[in-house]
Amino acid sequence: MRRAGLRVRVTAGFAAGALTLSALMALVSYQITRGSLLNEREGTAVRAAYYDAAVVRAGLGSVAQPDVAAVLSSLDTGENRRAVLQRGGAWYASKADSGLRETIPAALQQTAGGGRAAVQRVRADGVPTLVVALPLADGDVFYEVDSLQELQHTLGVLTLVLTLVALGTAAIGAALGWYAARYVLRPLTRVVDAAEGIAAGRSDARLDPGGEPELARLSTSFNHMVDELSARNERDRRFAADVSHELRSPLQTLAAAASVLDKRRPQMDPRSATAAGLVTDELSRFQGLVNDLLELARSDRSADRAPVDVAELARQVCRERHTGADIVAVAGPSEVWLVDRRRIAQLLGNLLDNAEAYGGGATAIRLTLDEDRGTLEVDDEGPGVSPDDKPVIFDRFVRGRSAGARAGGDGAGLGLALVAQHAAAHGGTATVLDRPGGGARFRVELVGCRP
């Protein structure tokens, strides 16, 4: 799995931190508020119960045969409170509530029966309820059952508010983290831009070492690296140019001198004539080798694109090699592609030479333009390319081992390496496939070909 980016991780960290902190704060606030509200509520309930108990005690004590129900009904208990009296084994309630007695837990009854006042929180029909038990004289016990529904509702609202606050804080934390990451990473973005610029060939891309103090060392070493790289590129380029000059100049002398020798071969004795012939032949092979090597040495050169009639170019390359131009087939909206004419001519020529040397000659050339992707295919009906050769066939100095090869050792194994290099200069690739029905199919794909 791909690792999440630094920005994502910083943002997530800030969010998680903010969420943890705000959740903790919310929990503590909730607990404190709840405790204090409950205590307060309990105090109020107990005070009210004592007051009511006093009223009941007075009501019951004033007459010999008191009307218990009337006494209880006279209490001002409001909506939430309900009074219950246990008197001589009988239960009396202020309201005709069924099951009110069950609300009062046995343990509480026992405690109160023992003559001690007690308070207990219970749940009645799912509603939190407070039961206050106050023993009266003669074993009577006065209970008050107080519903805490309002408090419950208040606490519910509080929970909702605190949750929302915690989530909001987490969101703000995430936003802060995102901004901080962006702010901190901004200098890195500049490094990325500069590195991309260099990769794209802009050797003048540099970082401002006076920018961020923390990044001064990075900027300095980055600039140093780029300087070194440019210097090395320049050295390489100059070396290639020098090598080019130093190889081409003596070859020019040899070419001219060999032509003089060649002209006089009929007048030479047989041994000299053979030697002169060898010199001339080897010289042209050597020239080809030097040209290919010098071309390969300048892999950094970009394609010099212009609109080119590739169909016409392919036919011309065929004619130069005395191959029938009718094997060229073109498909797509345009026969004119935006390519480097010299490179494509050499690429096609090398593929045709390769087909000639190893596959008995090219049998088809297909040029297809699709969107801006140009595909060139050269087929032969020879023995094909063995699986061992396929991965290395576009490497330098690799020569085919196929049995049908009749190249004899003429090529140096640079032709297909140049094909791959020309394809790469057009942002494309070169591959070798099996032709359906036997033989090899070389496919070159180029991008940015739409004129």
Binding site: Q252, A257, Q287, E312, R341
Partner: protein, 225 residues
């Protein structure tokens, strides 16, 4: 016998070129510096000049410029340098063709023949001057006039102009022009582009926005009124 001047500082290359071209039937003289070559061309003008770019003293580019000031002789560069920059600069200086060393002698003589075609193959009927507004091209007289005044053009520039003038308003592709003027099959199109630029300097009032010699993008060039 056609005379060729070889300006090349490398003694061995110069000697081998002299030998090989003499074998091909040319009268060849050699010069090891641009100064020597310029003096030789003044005293005994050759029909074609071969020049190397890297020369001691005056370099090849400057040598071409100085030759062009007084001479419309075909100039062929033979250089080991094949950077676009060098090629374009040499052509802009006035060279007619650019060959990268090593050049086969067969190829070199083919180039020399293509450039030294003096008389164009003209039919028996005299061809009248071709008019393109204020521009006048006389293929037979070998003359170009702008606003009635003669314009000095090199032989290659003239051939190029004639090819376009003989097909008024028709687009000729760079490859067609390379074939007809330089006798190249699949040659370097920069040759055409730089020559067109040089011609525009001479026959257009504003070479930046040409009226006669116009580019047809993706196709080639045409000459119009």
């Amino acid at each position: 016998m056609s005379a060729v001047l070889v300006i090349e500082d490398d003694d061995r290359i110069r000697l081998s070129l002299v030998l090989a071209l003499e074998d091909e039937g040319y009268a060849v003289s050699g010069a090891s510096t641009a100064e020597e070559g310029l003096a030789s061309q003044r005293s005994r003008p050759a029909d074609t000049v071969l020049v190397d770019l890297m020369l001691p003293g005056i370099d090849g580019f400057e040598c071409i410029r100085q030759l062009r000031r007084t001479d419309d002789v075909p100039i062929v560069v033979i250089s080991a340098r094949d950077d676009t920059q060098d090629i374009v600069e040499a052509l802009e200086a006035g060279a007619d063709d650019y060959l990268v060393k090593p050049v086969a002698i067969k190829e070199l003589t083919a180039r020399l023949r293509a450039l030294s075609r003096r008389a164009r193959t003209i039919g028996t009927d005299p061809v009248p001057a071709l008019r393109f507004g204020d521009l006048e091209v006389s293929p037979e007289a070998g003359e170009v006039r702008l606003h009635g005044a003669p314009v000095p053009v090199t032989r290659t520039e003239f051939q190029l102009l004639c090819e376009l003038a003989e097909h008024p308003g028709r687009v000729l592709s760079r490859q067609q022009l390379l074939r007809r003027v330089w006798q190249y099959e699949g040659g370097d199109e920069r040759l055409v582009d730089v020559h067109i630029g040089r011609l525009r300097q001479k026959i257009e009032d504003d070479s930046g926005s040409p009226r006669h010699l116009v580019t047809v993008r993706g196709l080639g060039y045409k000459l119009q009124r």
